[in-house]
Subunit: 109 residues, 2 copies
């Protein structure tokens, strides 16, 4: 995989499909209306399924800089993302919290 920024062309996770190059995330073929940040965060998480990613890693990928010591941005965007994903996929638990560390994307439960 010789991608510059690490963008896979497509990522599937059950009924969810992500197309980074098209700036789109679809559920059953219907696009979610995610903001740029939300999508970037989802892409970053989904590019590393089952991997626990720290806030620093996520911030580095999505914001392309280092977070302040007490930055809650990642948490806030995870929350917004969950809200929109939960609306389109009720009951699904795609993003898991790992206390004291960060977050993890898991295609299944």
């Amino acid at each position: 995989m010789a991608m510059g920024t690490g963008q896979s062309s497509r990522i599937s996770a059950g009924r969810l499909e992500i197309r980074p190059e098209e700036h789109a995330a679809l559920v059953d073929g219907r696009p979610l209306s995610l903001t740029v940040r939300e999508l970037q965060l989802l892409v970053t998480l989904a590019e590393h399924p089952q991997r626990i990613m720290t806030r620093e890693e996520l911030f580095a990928e999505v914001w392309a800089s280092e977070p302040r010591r007490e930055d809650r941005s990642v948490d806030v965007y995870v929350s917004r993302l969950r809200a929109k994903l939960g609306e389109a996929l009720p009951g699904a638990q795609l993003i898991h919290t790992h206390n004291g560390i960060g977050y993890r994307f898991s295609p299944d439960g």
Copy 2:
């Protein structure tokens, strides 16, 4: 990869794999949801397979200090760890008690 003090990069024990650097312990590739303490304890035990480790040794590694005379923390966390491991690997007996001494991690039975 600048490696820390005594952290092996990966430890395998049958279906269990531990990746200290990623703050993760996996069973069949799926991460267990361990707390920081639980993971530290598991790492410490698993770094010395087949070796009986005293409470003092474990406490020193995980808590980075000395236990009070009647500290039950190690026992409690071993118990919690066993519960979570037993859930993911029913029937497995990874952590053995050595009466009057401490605990031992054994990859096989």
